[in-house]
Amino acid sequence: MVAIEPILEVDQLHVRFGRQQVLRGIDFEVPRGQSLAIIGESGCGKTVLLKSIIGLVWPQQGRVRFDGQQLDQLTEKELAEERIRFGFVFQNSALFDSMTIYENILFPLRQHRPGEVEEHHQQLFSRLAEVGLPRSVLEKRPAELSGGMRKRVGLARALVMQPEVLLYDEPTTGLDPIVSDVINELMIRTKQNSPVTSIIVTHDMKTARKVADRVVMLYPLSRLEPGEPQIIFDGTQDEIEASKDRRVSQFVRGEAGDRLMEMSEPGAGLEN
């Protein structure tokens, strides 16, 4: 069997904010076309990890290689060009409040391929159809849309440049189970429609089970010394379900276990 070459390699990533160590020695790689779910409890650094991948957060140590290129060695201009190859769906959609939905979705195209109005509209309408939004939303502003619709607009905006890698940050957080499932279906459909590689950061096990080919679990190694999460699990969905590791199985089943006791100990849960 021929191994699929990785499109993304994360090597010994360390991120620290002031005195707080957020990530320590994170290593993983994502083969081209694969969907990887990064699960873990709230505040363990999943979003920071996702942002480190495209240089929105710079690590103190470690490397991110995308398609053979080491991202921290690129100039600002080169990095901006590489970022076009990524699509980022933010946790709260991060749509631009001052723009209409039309302007929001077209923003990346207008920024990088100005003047090609016909192509812009073609892309806009096909992405809108892909995420199942009516054309009537185009004149609205983000504040006029529901959370689920904003997520879909965020996805349409991320797809409009036809990215090679899609980064989803908590795509179903704050949505009801039905809308969450709609978003899950959209992620699956997106993957079927294009050969895109996806990294999904989530603590929603249903999303991880449904969308991902592989699951990685990020876990703070000691509750009494918070921070320093590391990957304690890397495997398929079946493997995570059958994991003998107590921390993994408790997380998958959503059980607090002895966590409540640990959290009540002095010093536990400190942010700094």
Binding site: L56, A80, F90, A94, L95, F96, Q111
Partner: protein
Amino acid sequence: MSSVSPYPTGDRPVRRGIITGVSESIADLGGYVLRGFETLGDMTLFAWRTIAWMITRRPRRDTLFSNMYQIGVLSLPVVALTGTFIGMVLAVQSYTQFRAFGLETQLGGVINKTMFRELGPVLAATMLAGRIGSAMAAELGTMRVTEQIDALSSMGANPIQYLVVPRFLSCLLLIPSLTIMAVFMGVVGGTLYCVFVLGIDSHHYEANANKFVENWDLFYGVVKSIFFGATIGLVSCYRGFHCQPGAEGVGSAATTAFVQSFVVIIILDLFLSIFLDEVYSLIWPLSPALFAG
């Protein structure tokens, strides 16, 4: 009756020695100084990147014009109103003293010169730091908190080029224009009050005003307002960009933007006044112009 401790067991504050207390205070002070220098360095880099982007890539016309509208057009009424009343207040405050010496017809010179050189630029800048600076810091701060700035970067756009340059350029171009407006309205307000309320002879008032005020005074005010505009633009955008999370962070960014802009404006005002007076005396060493150094 035994007294009940206000602290739960184990949380009772530990008594510290004087030396420990003093050393911690010195360490805290050192921390503040270090953070101050760090912020100053960071701000300088931010200013440098803004200017570099401004030179290398022209901002999009629609973004620039919408910022100019927000900063310039919408500030006109408040600046005009402030200018008018400052001119009138100056007339009220100076009239008694000048009348005591029989110099009330000289009021035009004093009011106009003060408006052109000092009160026009400084008060317009203060007003605009409150109106525009706080709004810009709050807007950019909200964008930071809601990840809109990250979204811009993730789409390969440079947030400084896209968000800061149009705001900075609008401040740089329009705050001097608004200052000229404030000065003009101050001159009009002062003249109207002196002539129609205080009954000063309009011919002599105007003649004295013209005698004392020169083109240099207008230049003097405009130069100051360019620096003030740049200060408001940079400080406010920097504060918005480095906003702390949450509603409190946005509020704090808006307040800090105003306070820091105001402090820098006042400090700059002193140094610019000294510098411009020196320049004046170098160019026209024998000029009898009022207030020139």
